[in-house]
Amino acid sequence: MAELTYRQAVAAGIAQEMDRDPLVVFIGEDIGAAGGVFKTTEGLFERFGPERIRDTPISEQAIVGAVMGAAMTGLRPIGELMFSDFFAVAWDMVANQIAKTRYMTDGQVSLPLVLRTANGGGLRFGAQHSQSVESWAMAIPGLKVVAPSTPADMLGLMAAAIRDPDPVIVCEHKALFAVKGEVPDGEHVVPLGQARIARPGSDCTIVALAAMVPRALEAAERLAAEAGISAEVIDLRTLIPLDARTILDSLARTGRLFTVEENPRVLGWGAEIVSIAADEGFDSLDAPLVRITAPQVPLASAAVLEDLAMPSVERIAATVRRRLDEAR
């Protein structure tokens, strides 16, 4: 086992797949000699050279469009969008072109591509560099969506995304880049569509994603220590394909379900989870389904306001404790 940061795991995952398959190529802004603005691509340019690692102009439509054109003609390209907010600039390419082309052509066109991006809040970057866009992508038929929470998953899910025959959006949480963790030796691949029970528990289920996973885990430890509550924490890992089975199985054991998202309230991915739970897990429910989210506002830049918006360890723990107390 080697210890890598989440940031290093990004490059390690890409390198593992570029070593394996010469058709894997990678383009984006400042990804080459500069190593990426978040230093997630350091060393790739030196190792794989300018034919496979290409800097682009600040042209998000061209980046995403070129990745699509390359994917439909035999390559397995990766494109970086520096901040996930910039998806809005290229949304035609993502939502109208990449997502729909296989279906519209009745399977004539395959698009084995990855769009990777720095997603999420917590760094005081303000409303246009802090969004969580995974729910945007999740809502479009034809896109797979990945959001790892640990270095090992970052590496393994990146590898799976690159090998996948369909378009995958990889949301790398920028608040996690410095987090360290053990990564298995040798080739590491984590299949898409398998949630992970990050902490077993019996009193309630907390479903989280990306940076909300470590917060949910810490909240679960506090709940155990301070209130004797045994919370099960599920790291979703991928939104599409969605591992609804693991969630419903957990709910059947615990009878209570919470989702933790840093998205604004309306139609974040947690809404789909509670919808499924209400429909298919109704007989397991001992209490109302609870979504813990940001309020329906853009993220503010000031530390006090951003921290207030994003679900904190304290808010997660307090919400779970209050709702469980109410149900008793």
Binding site: G65, T73, Q108, D166
Partner: protein, 331 residues
């Protein structure tokens, strides 16, 4: 420079045949739209056949075509059979894409017809990607990307041209300047006179303007640009001046265009012009009449096959979203 490159008699007749087939197909498609058999919308290419035929005649079988929602001509010109195109227009399960795409998205990968794109300008960056792929794979393929004059004012046009030029990818960008975007004249909303050619210098490219109603002139610039791209000399941007005989789409009568202008362009119809030239060169009337009769028969036969095609199987509604053939998003 017209006439510098030799074009065989067979090649000239092949391009004539392509133009006639396109025209015959489109005229029938329009009638069938008015009869209600073609649903939704259509954007016909009547009047612009010389661009499609001139370029297709200059392409290698494995080159890529990217075109727009006005893409019937370009799809036909790559050799895609008429029957599945008609069936797609009719919404049949036997359609080119099983009825999932429609008139605006005709695609036949096996013919190099890599898609008809219905969001203006979107396919220019995609064509850059296909050309980059050919460059990386050293396949010798060229991507030819057709778009309307309206696309020259959208961001994707500029992003694509710049990236194509910087990476020197084998792509040929062809602006079919038919003078009108939808209902508005391109000149009234564009800062330069030639919407594509006048922008070429911004990307270090030569300003190339060609008479888009002269199939031989088109063919010549096409060969020059495609050969150069294939040889590694980078992309080209070509502006072909042409005119659509009908309106923008569906039942649009095109009343926003002055009568005198329409009449002047109808008098420059590319098909009679090429026909007269072929006759003057000694091709016999009977040979041209036979090409025309064969096109008419081919369109009628294709229509009959398409009419007999089945409605889409309801089971296909949820197929082919993913490469496993299905559309599952959860377990």
């Amino acid at each position: 420079m017209a006439g510098e490159l030799s074009v065989s008699r067979d090649a000239r007749l092949a391009m004539y045949r392509t133009m006639v087939e396109c025209r015959t197909f489109e005229e029938r498609a329009q009638q069938l739209f008015f009869e209600g058999l073609v649903r939704g919308t259509t954007h016909l290419g009547n009047g612009q056949e010389a661009v499609a035929a001139g370029f297709a005649g200059a392409m290698r079988a494995d080159d890529y075509t990217f075109c727009t929602y006005r893409g019937h001509n370009h799809t036909l010109a790559r050799g895609v059979p008429m029957a599945p195109i008609f069936a797609e227009l009719f919404g049949r399960g036997s359609g080119l894409m099983g009825g999932k795409g429609g008139s605006m998205h005709l695609t036949s990968v096996e013919h190099g017809a890599m898609g008809s794109y219905a969001i203006v300008g979107a396919h220019l960056p995609i064509a850059v990607g296909a050309a980059w792929s050919a460059q990386y794979r050293k396949s010798g393929q060229v991507a030819v990307c057709f778009f309307g004059d309206g696309a020259t004012n959208i961001g994707a046009f500029h992003e694509a041209l710049n990236l194509a030029a910087v990476w020197r990818v084998p792509a040929v960008f062809v602006c079919e300047n038919n003078q009108y975007m939808e209902y508005t004249a391109i000149g009234s909303v564009t800062a330069v006179e030639r919407p594509a050619a006048d922008r070429a210098a911004a990307y270090g490219l030569e300003a190339i303007v060609v008479d888009g109603n002269d199939v031989r002139a088109v063919h010549e610039v096409a060969r020059t640009a495609i050969d150069a791209a294939r040889a590694g000399d980078g992309p080209a941007l070509i502006e072909a001046l042409t005119y659509r005989h009908g309106g923008h789409s569906r039942a649009d009568p095109g009343k926003y265009r002055p009568d005198a202008e329409v009449q002047a362009w109808l008098a420059r119809d590319p098909i009679p012009a090429e026909r007269a030239r072929l006759l003057a060169e000694g091709v016999r009337e009977a040979e041209l009449a036979r090409i025309e009769a064969e096109a008419t028969a081919a369109v009628a036969a294709a229509e009959a096959i398409a009419r007999d095609g089945p409605e889409p199987d309801p089971a296909t509604l949820e197929t082919e979203l993913w490469s496993d053939g299905g559309s599952a998003w959860r377990n």
